[in-house]
């Protein structure tokens, strides 16, 4: 048990740290590298929470596809890829808000009672049964959302639009 506690703490620390580094880094490419590490740390957390399917998904979609997409975005919008970002000071209001949010959410977290021992069953067949549900409604909705997003994205970037 202690091992898992330690693993959680380590992964949590990595996640928080990389998230902060990603946002505070001056260089966009560094940011993307840090955030990919953040995604991997989260995937580790999912494995720890006995959700290996999601962990794999996280690795594939986030650490893989999203990271590449972001890099791609940087590549096509910049002449020099390793360019420093113009420094932006941290405004007092956003900082205050972020801190306030942490405090509020922490208080909420602390005030919640510890529920009974959770069931940590891992069963991909059951997950897929849930996911497909009745007639696969969720997947259909998700597919529709993706389709409309796809056509929207194509519309936005199509040639000759002025």
């Amino acid at each position: 048990m202690i091992l898992e506690e330690l693993a959680f703490l380590a992964l949590a620390a990595i996640a928080v740290g990389t998230a902060l580094l990603a946002l505070l880094s001056r260089e966009l490419v560094h940011t993307i590298l840090w955030v990919s590490v953040f995604f991997v740390a989260l995937a580790g957390l999912y494995f720890l929470l006995s959700a290996p399917f999601l962990g794999v998904l996280q690795l594939g979609v986030y650490a893989g596809a999203v990271t590449i997409l972001l890099l791609f975005g940087v590549m096509v919008t910049r002449k020099r890829i390793f360019a420093r970002e113009v420094a932006t000071g941290i405004g007092p209001v956003p900082l205050g808000l972020a801190v306030l949010a942490i405090i509020v959410l922490s208080v909420v977290a602390a005030s919640l009672p510890q529920p009974a021992t959770p069931v940590r069953s891992y069963d991909v067949a059951q997950l897929s049964a849930t996911l497909f549900g009745v007639d696969g409604a969720w997947l259909i909705v998700l597919g529709l959302v993706m389709l409309s997003a796809l056509s929207g994205a194509i519309y936005l970037v199509r040639e000759g639009r002025e």
């Binding site: 209001v93 956003p94 808000l97 306030l100 949010a101 509020v104 208080v107 909420v108």
Partner: protein, 647 residues
């Protein structure tokens, strides 16, 4: 039955195809006429037949207080003897006028508009005639009113035409509003009489099977019913240009002559009389109502005829004569012989349309409406002159022309009624006096226009006879003006007029009271002779300036100053009202609005500073809002709930 549905289908279809022009409209009007003839034939084969096909459009449950038995709106077609007869008049005159228009309006611009409006008018008019309930009737009533407005104002570039259209619209509107009020009173009668008569629930139908819905059930003596009847009279007076709402009809002559012939002689103005007939048969009048109707009709008859005596404008003379003749019809209805009024309406439609079309032919030829500039038109325009003469003889009530029979019936019916109602006598005398005046003024117009050798104003274009499309309607109408009076003596046709809806409307066609007939014919002949003596042979009889009759002439020419009076009244009312409205607007409404405006300006000035356009700023607003909501939900809400003792 099926026939009536075919009719409505045809009329509805016609509106769409109109851009193609006049012949399409003529064709559809002709088709409508054929259908109307079939309807009349069917009615003649089945005397006193009522065919009611309706469709309930909306049905509401009853509520205690307003409509105890419910309320339904019905669109339906009722074919009964009177509507068949009226249908015949409307479609025949409509068709002939359309045909005539092809020639008369040939050179005008805006022809599609003209034919579309004319067709819309015909549709509305036939719809009005076959309506089977009062609300539908009112709907079409308003529709013919608006068509009349459009058509009077057909030459809208002309200020006088535009203002005449407005005047016609506003004056008839007075009648319409009162008519609507009358309908409401009938609602009230229906709702309050002994738990409701179920009239509203049946959709305000005129007849239930073949018996009138309201006339019997109301008892016929209550004050409310009298008031409702007076409102019907007011509506009819507005539409039929009866005193005191008559001022618009002479001005309506600003429209094309064809329009005057169709709308302001034969059909729409007759709708007022038709309303009275329908109300008399199906809704019922009280004795007080009848007296009021007789008074209005009798007075208008005489009053309008006096104004026609001096007028120099050929169309306006005929317009005054229309008002006067409508007065006769109203008189007959008031006397209790609704079908006699209907009979006069029937014959009048033909000879008056004939007169108007003949006058139109004259105007078409010489380009002026001023009688004193015309003259000598008999030789170049033989057909027109003959047609005008036939119309004039018919109007004057000379046998054997149609006008004789119907006018004689009107007079004898009033005479019959006056036996038991002494109050009717003065109006009978006025009606007889009018016979003389009528013959005089119409023949004055005839001699002024046609007799003599040449036109008095040499600048007028050389007169010529009208083209065949204009002559053909003149021939047909001349024939009808001669024989229409004989129709009631044909037994199967007479059955159309003898529908005593509840047995109390006996017809008195062709009375045998020879003294009365002789009196009216004698008066008519005297009028003609006087006109011949004064105006015949193209002479112009000029009243001496110092004559004692000169002030009378001035008053008559100025139409008893009634129009001027109405204008003055309108001005006073409108200016007074607008001054109050102005004050209210400037200080109350504007003050409030400016206050609100200033507040909004200040607020928006403050809020605007938040709208930087920066996504980050907007995001921080969102986050602030979410955090605020969380605080509210987690800390404030439990506290509040605890303090009020909630869950």
């Amino acid at each position: 039955m099926a026939v009536s549905f075919v009719l409505v289908g045809l009329l509805g279809d016609r509106l769409k195809k109109l851009e193609h022009g006049g012949w399409v409209a003529v064709g559809f009007a002709g088709a409508a006429m054929v259908v109307a003839v079939l309807v009349v034939a069917a009615e003649m084969l089945h005397p006193s037949h009522y065919s009611d096909q309706s469709f309930t459009w909306l049905q509401l449950p009853g509520s205690p207080g307003a409509f105890p038995n419910g309320f339904s709106l019905v669109i339906g077609v009722l074919v009964d003897p009177i509507s068949a007869l009226m249908l015949l008049v409307v479609t025949v005159v409509g068709f002939l006028v359309m045909l005539y228009s092809i020639g008369y309006m040939h050179a005008d611009r805006g022809l599609p508009r003209y034919y579309a409006e004319l067709s819309l008018f015909l549709t509305a008019m036939t719809g009005l005639v076959v309506s089977d309930n009062l609300l539908e009737f009112f709907l079409f009533w308003e529709l013919v009113g608006v068509c009349s407005y459009f058509l009077i104002g057909f030459y809208y570039e002309k200020p006088s035409a535009a203002s005449a259209a407005k005047e016609a619209f506003l004056v008839t509107r007075v009648g319409d509003v009162l008519f609507l009020l009358g309908i409401f009173i009938y609602f009230t009668i229906d709702a309050t009489a002994g738990g409701g008569l179920g009239w509203a629930a049946s959709g305000f139908k005129f007849v239930n099977g073949s018996t009138p819905f309201l006339a019997g059930a109301m008892g016929g003596s209550s004050t409310l019913q009298t008031v409702a009847g007076l409102m019907m009279l007011a509506g009819a007076a507005g539409k039929s240009a009866q005193f005191p709402l008559h001022t618009w009809l002479p001005d309506a002559m600003e429209g094309p002559t064809t329009v005057s012939a169709l709308i302001h002689a034969a059909t729409m103005v007759a709708a007022g009389v038709y309303l009275l007939v329908v109300a008399s048969l199906f809704l019922g009048f009280t004795p007080d109502d009848r007296l009021a109707i007789v008074a209005v009709g009798g007075f208008t008859t005489f009053f309008a005829a006096t104004m026609a005596v001096v007028h120099p404008d050929i169309k306006r003379v005929i317009a005054y004569s229309t008002i006067s003749q409508l007065g006769y019809m109203v008189l007959a209805v008031g006397a209790g012989f609704a079908m006699v009024g209907m009979y006069h309406l029937f014959t009048h439609a033909f000879f008056k349309a004939l007169l108007f079309l003949a006058a139109g032919s004259v105007i078409h030829a010489v380009g002026t409406q001023d009688l004193f500039k015309m003259g000598g038109l008999r030789r170049p325009m033989r057909v027109t002159a003959a047609a005008f003469a036939i119309g004039a003889l018919s109007l004057s009530g000379i046998p054997p022309f149609a006008g004789f029979f119907s006018k004689d019936d009107v007079l004898s019916s009033v005479y019959t009624a006056a036996q038991s109602h002494p109050a009717y006598w003065p109006f009978l005398i006025l009606a007889y006096a009018t016979v003389f005046l009528t013959a005089y003024y119409i023949f004055r117009a005839f001699f002024l226009a046609f007799s003599g050798d040449k036109t008095r104003d040499p600048t007028l274009p050389h007169p010529h006879e009208a083209p065949w499309v204009m002559r053909l309607p003149l021939y047909i109408l001349s024939g009808l003006a001669i024989v229409a009076g004989v129709f009631p003596f044909v037994p199967s046709f007479a059955s159309l007029l003898s529908i005593g809806a509840n047995g109390n409307v006996p017809p008195v066609f062709g009375t045998t009271d020879l003294i009365l007939s002789a009196l009216s014919v004698g008066l008519g002949a005297a009028g003609i002779l006087l006109a011949q003596a004064l105006w015949g042979n193209g002479r112009v009889y000029v009243l001496a300036p110092e004559s004692a009759l000169q002030p009378v002439r001035t008053i008559l020419l100025n139409r008893y100053y009634m129009k001027a009076g109405y204008d003055e009244l309108g001005l006073r009312l409108v200016y007074g009202g607008s001054r109050i409205a102005d004050f209210f607007e400037r200080y109350v409404i504007d003050g409030t609005i400016r206050g609100i405006e200033r507040l909004a300006a200040r607020l928006s000035g403050t809020l605007r500073q938040g709208q930087t356009g920066l996504v980050s700023d907007y995001a921080s607003y969102v986050v602030a809002g979410v955090v605020g909501l969380l605080i509210l939900l987690l800390f404030v809400a439990p506290f509040v709930l605890a303090s009020v003792g909630g869950p």
